[in-house]
């Protein structure tokens, strides 16, 4: 699929430009010639009411806003982070109530879905298991209502497990595997790694965001590959990619085996024929990034 397409906005503002996805979006958009403004919490602290005024200076009908700020689960799922995440969404909502922009892209998460439903579509029932997912769901509802009232286009993206170079969290899966591989040539797996998940390479996520913005898609999309793989598949892929042998340590599982699959028909209709990085390709590239020169 060709990536020769343009973003039909004069300026793209990214809130949360130091996050895993936010940073990649800024880099790639900038490389493809988009006028991009990346804001960190140091620049504009969305937890403060003053942030609204700061954002107002960036508004305009030709502006697309990507709201990617969040205190991620690795910061603790506490009432404090919940409150902060909700406050950020409310303040962005208040900004959008006060100013006109062209498009609001909300970076949400598949944490809004329970782990009991398969395969997940954009119409699957919501039931977040933790405060992070709850805040994401609250943010969606807030921005959905505000943009509808202000006639601002709204694109809501529920992103599944992201992996790839630059991940700062070391979340369980490819990211934690590479991290521990670099640390002590060991990979730690819950049980035998039977759980299937949909692992999305961060580069594919960025491509899809660009493409959906380019075709002016609106509404909710799950960003996922549509093909779930078990964690043990990933270990196998890693064993194939890595020129040395490593130890696989099995840890006690904390709960029953769960699986997560996506039915990506809605996304597919926007990018038919798009080929996601296979887990084998993605893992191999990630390894080369972590172990340059091997």
């Amino acid at each position: 699929m060709s990536d020769k397409f343009t973003i039909p906005f004069d300026r793209v503002v990214v809130l949360g430009s130091t996050g895993f996805l936010g940073k990649k979006v800024c880099d790639v958009f900038r490389q493809s010639g988009v006028d991009i403004i990346g804001l960190r919490s140091k620049d504009v602290d969305l937890r403060k009411e003053a942030s609204i005024a700061a954002l107002q200076q960036l508004a305009g009908g030709d502006v697309a806003l990507i709201f990617s700020s969040a205190l991620t689960p690795d910061r603790g799922q506490t009432l404090g982070t919940l409150s902060d995440n909700l406050t950020m969404a409310i303040n962005v909502g208040k900004f959008l109530e006060s100013c006109k922009i062209g498009l609001c892209v909300n970076i949400s998460s598949d944490a809004v879905y329970p782990l009991t439903a398969n395969p997940i579509t954009e119409n699957s029932p919501i039931d977040p298991a933790g405060y992070y997912g709850l805040a994401k769901y609250g943010g969606e509802k807030i921005l959905e209502r505000v943009t509808a009232a202000s006639k601002i286009d709204f694109l809501n993206l529920r992103v599944t497990a992201l992996y790839g170079p630059g991940d700062p969290h070391g979340s369980y899966g490819p990211n934690s595997f590479l991290k521990s591989l670099m640390k002590d040539k060991t990979v730690r797996l819950f049980g035998a790694g039977e759980e299937k998940r949909d692992h999305l390479h961060v580069d594919d996520a960025v491509f899809l965001i660009r493409k959906l913005m380019a075709v002016r898609a609106t509404g909710t999309y799950n960003l996922a590959t549509g093909r779930s793989r078990s964690f043990s598949d990933i270990v196998t892929a890693l064993q194939q990619a890595v020129p040395f042998s490593f130890e696989v340590v099995s840890m006690a599982r904390r709960g029953p085996i769960t699986h997560r699959h996506f039915d990506t028909t809605r996304l597919c209709l926007q990018v038919p024929g798009f080929q996601f990085a296979s887990i084998e390709e993605g893992i191999a590239g990630y390894y080369r990034f972590c172990f340059p020169g091997t």
């Binding site: 699929m1 579509t121 597919c268 990018v271 038919p272 024929g273 080929q275």
Partner: protein, 442 residues
């Protein structure tokens, strides 16, 4: 009933045309009424606006017994009047009862005082009893007997079923009332069981039959999906199911792109909204509804996985535009939906045994033969089960196509799997042999 005394048919859409001609074929006089002067003139001239196997022959044979009229006063001669207007459905498959109510309001003033009035239109539970009250208000003098007669029309088999119904379900005011003798006598020509019951039971029976078929289809499609996932073969399993007497040899077990055509969808929507209004748990209906809504995606998924990933703008041949064989109906037809959904990403060339140029086809080139449609195509999609496809000459599939890939959404070539050498074949309920999907594709 004397053959000289005519039966009135009111509303000459698909149901009314087939029913009145079938009724007349038993040598009975028929007054066929429709308020549309044009439609009546055209029917009188022998032009049939619907396609059904055997309908033209039936028309030729029975035409002399039918008086086509657009003057409702002609119904005064009829002791038995049958309301046979199809209930139209909206985009969301809800029923629009306005036309049938308007039609009944228009004829009631002309009905004989002791008329037997039979409603055959596809009405929801509760309609007939409310209609009684409505008629009493318009014509307090009328001593009419009101029945609801479940129509058993199946698109593509309408004539056969109108001539030889397997049973007649008739709604009566209450269980013990029984049929008006004149109507009972008229139905006796079919030699099939007559089942009188309460209005509500009969109205529900009609939708209940269709819901059972939807249940079977939804079940079969889900199992077919599971077969693909666990590497079982639905085609091996179905014969075992048919041998179970609790399931039966004629059960609807063929996988498909889900229900289409509008009638089954209407009945599902009707019962669903009834349950919603009454607070009856309808998780089962919701399951059917969701399964059928998503079933079309199978076609999209296969096209995406095996075709779109291989080529930037593939050429796709489509056999079949109607929603099934032997009908002209394209209501909810998956072929048209697919062409619309992928219009920007693929080129479509189609062949259909009956559809010629018409408005709603979308971006597709209509060709004159199966082989013409195949020329230079990257894939063939079989989208309905016409006999022409089931018995098609497969040589052009091998010789004319750029890639001999067949995605059979209708199971048309299921019975010929052993003949398909040299053809990549994708069908429901088993994993395609020798074909690998893209690693992961959107």
């Amino acid at each position: 009933m004397s053959h000289a005394v005519p039966t009135g048919f009111v509303g000459l859409s698909h149901l009314g045309i087939v029913s009145s001609l079938a009724w007349a074929s038993f040598g009975r006089a028929v007054v066929a009424y429709d308020p549309s002067v044009e439609r009546v003139a055209s029917l009188a001239a022998g032009t049939l606006p619907v396609h059904e196997p055997g309908l033209a022959e039936l028309h030729t044979k029975t035409h002399a017994h039918v008086e086509w009229v657009s003057d409702a006063a002609k119904l005064e001669a009829c002791p038995l009047v049958i309301v046979s207007l199809d209930v139209p459905t909206a985009e969301d498959n809800t029923s629009d009862l306005t036309p049938v109510l308007a039609l009944i309001d228009a004829i009631v003033p002309f009905l004989r005082q002791d008329v037997v009035l039979v409603v055959m239109s596809q009405v929801p539970p509760g309609f007939t009893r409310r209609l009684r009250t409505r008629i009493e208000q318009i014509r307090p003098d009328l001593r009419c007997t009101l029945h609801y007669w479940v129509e058993t029309l199946i698109f593509g088999r309408a004539v056969e079923r109108a001539l030889r119904p397997e049973r007649c379900i008739v709604g009566c005011e209450d269980s013990d009332a029984g049929l008006a003798p004149m109507f009972a006598e008229a139905l006796s020509v079919y030699g099939c069981p007559i089942l009188p019951m309460r209005y509500e039971s009969a109205e529900l029976a009609k939708t209940a039959i269709n819901l059972y078929l939807i249940a079977s289809v939804s079940y079969a499609n889900t199992l077919a999906d599971l077969c693909e996932a666990v590497d079982a073969d639905w085609g091996e399993i179905v014969p075992a199911l048919r041998l179970d007497q609790r399931i039966g040899p004629a059960a609807y077990l063929r996988p498909s792109l889900g229900i289409a055509g509008g009638n089954l969808e209407r009945d599902l929507v009707t019962l669903r909204s009834l349950a919603y209004e009454e607070g009856v748990d309808a998780a089962v209906f919701d399951g059917f509804s969701q399964a059928n809504k998503k079933r079309y995606d199978w076609a999209l998924r296969m096209v995406n996985c095996y075709v779109m990933t291989q080529s930037a703008k593939p050429k796709i041949a489509v056999w079949g535009l109607t929603y099934k064989k032997n009908t002209h109906s394209t209501k909810n037809a998956p072929a048209l939906r697919l062409i619309r959904d992928l219009a920007a990403h693929a080129e479509f060339a189609a062949w259909d045994p009956i559809i010629r140029a018409q408005d709603n086809l979308g971006a597709v080139q209509l060709l004159g033969s199966p082989a013409d449609a195949l020329r230079g195509a990257d894939a063939l999609l079989i989208m309905s089960d016409w006999d022409e496809f089931v018995n098609a000459d497969l040589r052009p599939v091998r010789s004319e196509m750029t890639r001999s890939l067949v995605i059979d959404c209708a199971g048309a070539l299921e019975g010929r799997r052993k003949e398909l050498t040299g053809i990549e074949y994708v069908s429901m309920g088993r994993r395609p042999q020798g074909l690998r999907p893209a690693a992961a594709s959107a």
